[in-house]
């Protein structure tokens, strides 16, 4: 039997993650990691944010926003290492590092959001 190539799956995750990163990540990073901590904008109260993230729909959204872009990173960074540094002979190590990292991140986000309280 012919071996089923896994590449299309990774490419789909890459592409989906690319869309999610392009649309959602800039505003979230700007607000959460810059504007709120530096008080450029009056940040919402802890309770308000907590209530917002507690909603099942928010958690589902955050799960998608955390996990898919990680697979986007894994795919892109893998090829950057291959081509940029010309280290294709280390492919197995790089694959484990990149996709392993994405899988770990996905599991962590699922755990955090499932047990959010």
């Amino acid at each position: 039997m012919a071996k089923r190539p896994i590449e299309p799956l990774f490419w789909t995750l890459f592409s989906g993650g690319g869309v999610i990163s392009a649309f959602f990540v800039p505003v979230l990073l700007f607000l959460i990691a810059l504007a709120f901590p530096l008080r450029w904008i009056a940040p919402p109260s802890y309770e308000a944010l907590h209530n917002l993230v507690s909603l099942p729909l928010s958690r589902l959204f955050l799960f998608v926003v955390c996990s898919l872009p990680l697979f986007h990173w894994a795919h892109r960074f893998r090829y950057t290492l291959y081509d940029g540094l010309q280290i294709k002979h280390l492919s197995e190590f790089i694959n484990v590092l990149c996709y392993g990292g994405a899988i770990v991140g996905t599991v962590v986000s699922a755990y955090l959001l499932w047990n959010f309280h």
Partner: protein
Amino acid sequence: MNVPVSRSAPPHTPYHPRWYRTRVSTYWWMLQWSYFRFVLRELTSLGVAYSCVILLCWIRALSRGPEAYEVLEKRLASPVVILLTVISLLLVLFHTITWFRLSADAMVVRVGGKRVPGVLISASNYVAWLVVSGILAWLLLR
């Protein structure tokens, strides 16, 4: 290939074709602006990964309680983290721009048998991006 060798075959060396490949410098991508931009576009993935990690820390702190959240806010306001965040934000924005430009080439949308020009697809992506960003900001700041 298994070619039966007859005993009378004259002594010979098997033909080993070898590719002619010049060695490319490890720094090939620094030699030309377009190459550098390509690698920069690929490296935007690091900004994306950084954002995911920050988001996960944020969710964790929110889940742990107000004290943990305050600690996170302080860490996010430290100079090193601010620098990393600003670099990542620039990378992510570059990703958004290049992604929309790319999708204009990749997406073939036909209306009434005619292909919608790429500029329109990019433009509609930008509009959607602004709307989505506005909605997210409103939800967070409400």
